[in-house]
Symmetry: C2
Subunit: 139 residues, 2 copies
């Protein structure tokens, strides 16, 4: 197997009242606050067509996560046996990409307000995707 | 806004009969074939606990995608007006990370057979995540 490396670039940052990863909710629907997604001016054209009320998937780079962990206690609970990170949503994993399903609450130019965002303040944003029709029943 | 760059590393490769991105189904549930996910020996510990029948989310690096595109015709259909890539699932986007929801059909050591994988042969795998309880109604 040939390991390959790729460079990803931030397209914006999360602005959130959350600043302690240990205190942040583990999932967006577990009491995470609303947050702003502040996009880089260079990518604003890519946001054209997003609307208030849309559900979108935001990918982030979990910059405070550990990358050298392959087994974790599920949900950080030491009473549970460690299992492979790929069976979990732990932020700690070889490529710490966060996956967040959020609703757009408002749009102000290159700033988009979203619901239930569990990423901490300053987390780099790396992508936004539409949800699929098949995802519509998801929340 | 300070642009930041991060390095991601492949953890395996997709082995698929699909080899032409233009001919591949646009989404996994649009007739995509089964495929093997062949993981790098270095990350096998992270797979512990995955089981046949599990739904998982696979993240890939869409290595044949263009990164300089911010507006696309939805679903590649030129009769539809271009819109921002972040409103779509186009592979062409600043950080071409593919998001695939698949079911595990079988596991043979570091090789996992999955359903409905629309990524082409050789696509680097960068992450695997469990689906959330809230995602369970999704398919």
């Amino acid at each position: 197997m040939n390991e390959a490396r790729f460079e990803i670039t931030s397209i914006g940052r999360v602005e959130s009242p959350l600043d302690d990863p240990a205190a942040a909710p583990k999932q967006g629907d577990e009491g995470a606050p609303d947050a702003w997604l502040a996009f880089d001016p260079a990518v604003l054209e890519g946001l054209e067509g997003l609307q208030r009320g849309d559900d979108v998937i935001v990918l982030t780079w979990l910059h405070r996560a550990r990358r050298d962990v392959l087994r974790v206690h599920p949900r950080g609970d030491p009473s549970r046996d460690r299992q492979g990170v790929f069976t979990t949503r732990s932020p700690h994993r070889p490529n710490p990409i966060g996956l967040h399903r959020v609703e757009i609450l408002s749009i102000e130019g290159g700033r988009i307000r979203v619901s239930n965002m569990e990423a901490v303040d300053g987390t780099p944003i790396v992508d936004v995707k539409s949800t699929l029709a098949a995802d519509a029943a998801d929340r």
